[in-house]
Amino acid sequence: MRRNPGAFGLRTWLYVLLVVLALPVVSMIALSFNASRYGTLPFRFSTHWYRVLTTDSALLDAVRTSVTLASEVTVICVIVGTLLTFGLHKASVVVAGPVNALLLALLTVPALILSAGLVSVFDWIGLGQTTLALVLASVVTSLPFVVLIESGRLQGLSPDYAEAARSLGAGPLRTFLTVTVPLMAPSIVAGGMLAFVICFNNFAIQLFLAPIGISTLPVQIYSMVRLGVTPDVNALGAIIVASTVLLIIVLNWLTGNAARLLTNTPTRER
């Protein structure tokens, strides 16, 4: 169907969308290299804002705080989420049904309302605005994504692999660790990545639950932006975009198709 008459229209349409979607990202990067403080023209190239960034200790502290938080939450989410996914898969509908409904509910409730709720709960049980409270709240918001991604994969996995392992003399635990987990690896990686990103970006949760005196990156940026958009935020955004793209390229190189990790392409393993 090379001579498809709609092909030209299709290509044009894709290019238009590419531009619209790229606009915010591209202009953010452009502004980060513009010498002018308020993003005004004419454009003059400068790495000024990147230099400012390296000396902005409050922002760098916030980056460190956010990365630490997101890493901890990711590790917890991956372990808990994998076990939960596996448990849901094995459990009867009576147990799995409510848990699934709850996970979907957690996906849907606005994070802001959830954080408001969590503040009162944590106050109630005496955790208050502690790091532990922040980690717990972040886990609760990130976990549903991990479970959704992993359970898609697990459901697509032939039960034959686990049964083959059992028939060869491996007990349930050995089967889980040496067969099921390795076969679920792509979705575990994808779920972990998603958990990291969602936790890293969860402004609403962090705004309410971050201990006093500790700023995560989104909270720090918020307080900076309230004083006017400064291009060193754009520089930071540009760095984040660049590292994301780099990560995607590396993953593509490692797995052949990184997008497949997130889209859960139904490749029944053979």
Partner: protein
């Protein structure tokens, strides 16, 4: 190596019966084929023996152990799946050593045993490949090696050849026969292919709708099918409904006025019965070739189909349609509309009373 004894095993899925209570004894060192179409319960039974499924009632014994409550990993079985189920994240070698490692055999010893087993299945030197790099037949050999290397008491095969090309299937049948002969392992194989079952099995268990139809040696199954279902599954074609009688030349079944000789039927004279015929036991001779023998029927060729080595014809005797299967070289003298003499070899026709017994 051990006998497998099944007593009163039954199974229900969501209210529908997958297996009616059944007993079965597979002798030590024998090769048992479970034959049936999909939904006959043959795979369910195999999975119950393996411990991958629990029976609702009954017990399973392997050798002198009652394994009914045991999980699969404690039954000392080897299981080969239809789609091989080789672990895609492990090399061929690691697939084969998996069962040994699970049994805490040292790595060094496991590798040596795996090498030896890969040699048995003709895959020396393939240990470092991944399963994906192998052809279907090679994957099947690895699955066999993986199941055999742990020296199981019994080898269970779930339609192991159905995913293979016809040519490789024949090759793998010979391979399975050889491995069974060399290891002497009690083997139970599930298949829907009657030729495969007939060729490989010492005994064949014919299942339908979760019930045993017949459990017999292949020759017996073929020459003395227990009921119309078994006969039909083995390729017998309905001839018609008639009445059993005894005449000058022995027993016969009379259908629409034509008398067809019966072999050793136990049905009393006067029984109404359905008759089936094995097409490959029917011989057609062009009427021009020679005079008609007394034991032969006269008929007309209605159709003639050519399948390469084999040909299939259909002839009419009065109102009865008689199929005939022959080597193509013997069909060259025939043609549609030709008058033929039809000879049906003794035992070529079976009659079954409306119940089931033969």
């Amino acid at each position: 190596m051990a006998r497998v004894i099944i007593t009163g095993v039954s199974k229900t899925f969501n209210g529908s019966t997958a297996l009616h209570p059944l007993d079965l004894a597979v002798e030590d060192g024998s090769f048992c084929c479970m034959l049936g179409s999909s939904g006959s319960g043959k795979s369910t039974l195999l999975r119950i023996i393996a411990g991958l499924s629990e029976p609702d009632t009954g017990t399973v014994r392997i050798g002198d152990r009652d394994v009914t409550g045991l999980p699969p990993e404690r039954r000392r079985i080897g299981f080969v799946f239809q789609d091989y189920a080789l672990f895609p994240h492990l090399s061929v070698g690691s697939n084969v050593t998996f069962g040994l490692r699970a049994r805490h055999v040292s790595k060094r010893e496991a590798v040596v045993k795996a090498e030896r087993m890969l040699e048995l299945v003709g895959l020396t030197g393939y240990a470092h490949r991944t399963p994906k790099q192998l052809s279907g037949g090679q994957q099947q050999r690895v699955a066999l090696a993986r199941a055999l290397v742990t020296e199981p008491d019994v080898l269970l095969l779930d339609e192991p050849l159905s995913a293979l090309d016809r040519k490789i299937r024949g090759e793998m049948q010979r391979e399975l026969k050889r491995i069974h002969r060399e290891t002497g392992l009690t083997t139970i194989m599930v298949t829907h292919d009657q030729e495969e079952a007939m060729n490989l099995g010492d005994r064949v268990l014919m299942l339908s709708n979760g019930a045993v139809q017949q459990f017999d040696e292949p020759e017996r199954l073929y020459h003395a099918p227990a009921n119309e279902f078994v006969a039909g599954f083995l390729g017998a074609v309905p001839l018609g409904h008639g009445v059993v009688g005894t005449g000058a030349r022995g027993r016969f079944v009379e259908i629409a006025g034509n008398r067809f000789a019966l072999g050793d039927s136990r049905l009393p004279d006067g029984t109404e019965a359905d008759a089936v015929v094995m097409a490959e036991r029917v011989t057609l001779t062009a009427a021009t070739a020679r005079a008609r023998d007394e034991a032969e029927h006269e008929g007309v060729v209605v159709s003639l189909d050519f399948f390469g080595p084999f040909a299939r014809a259909e002839a009419r005797v009065g109102d009865v349609s008689v199929p005939a299967m022959m080597l193509s070289q013997h069909a060259t003298a025939l043609e549609g509309g030709a008058r033929v003499w039809i000879r049906i070899a003794t035992g070529g026709i079976h009659a079954f009373a409306d119940g089931a017994t033969r």
